[in-house]
């Protein structure tokens, strides 16, 4: 079955520290993968996406993610976290053959001074 998994429910990092949020996928075909961010009481904002090509994708707000087929992963990274990055982060996936969008359960990020 197609799925996206986020192993970490909650992560705390210090401001200025590097960040990596994990995402694993299970798809038969090459998936389209996304990272969204959600601030409290808000909708989901797209950070970045991977469809094909270069496996390192750049997104908004200084985020990047790397697609690793061998590890079935699409981890989100940021070299230096800002307090405003505190939010809920969702990894999601789909394929070019369907409309079904699979969300991970989300990772809540806390940034401490």
């Amino acid at each position: 079955a197609q799925s996206v998994t986020q192993p970490d429910i909650h992560i705390t990092v210090s401001e200025g520290a590097s960040l990596e949020l994990r995402c694993n996928y299970s798809y038969g075909a090459t998936p389209y993968l996304f990272w969204y961010v959600q601030s409290p009481g808000q909708g989901l904002q797209l950070l970045l996406k991977y469809f094909s090509g270069d496996t390192l994708v750049q997104g908004i707000k200084g985020f990047e993610a790397e697609f690793k087929r061998s590890q079935s992963s699409f981890n989100l990274r940021k070299p230096s976290v800002h307090w405003s990055d505190a939010a809920e982060y969702f990894c999601a996936g789909t394929t070019n053959t369907g409309n079904q969008f699979y969300f991970g359960t989300g990772t809540s990020l806390t940034v401490i001074p």
Binding site: Y32, F34, Y36, G41, Q42, G43, L44, Q45, L46, K49, F90, A92, T94, T95, N96, T97, G98, N99, Q100, F101, F103, G104, T105, G106, S108
Partner: protein, 111 residues
């Protein structure tokens, strides 16, 4: 510049009183989705329209219905809201198999 618009942002209704949430888009996408999101959970897909074709998720309660009168608009009707239906409702749009763009959501409170 808003691309996916949801109205209202906050909706209060009474237990059992029908309520309609609305979503509109300026992207001319052929797919529109409705998600329910409860606190600290991932969005849960209720149904989606691919053009005029309605696709209901197997576990979506009958209490939830949807209408899509044209490409731009999609409505979520909750026929008899229960306390358990209090949640954030998110609308999203996409072209088939492509990025989903989300609206800001409507937070529903059931009294």
């Amino acid at each position: 510049d808003a691309m996916v618009i949801q109205n209202p942002r906050y909706q209060v209704t009474q237990f059992g009183k029908p309520v309609t949430l609305s979503c509109s888009q300026t992207l001319n996408h052929n797919v529109m989705y409705w998600y329910q999101q409860k606190s600290s959970q991932a969005p849960k897909l209720l149904f989606h329209y691919y053009d005029k074709d309605f696709n209901n998720e197997a576990d979506t309660p009958d209490n939830f219905q949807s209408r899509r009168p044209n490409t731009s608009f999609c409505f979520l009707d909750i026929r008899s809201p229960g306390l358990g239906d209090a949640a954030m409702y998110l609308c999203a749009t996409s072209r088939k198999g492509e990025t989903q763009y989300f609206g800001p959501g409507t937070r529903l409170l059931v009294l």
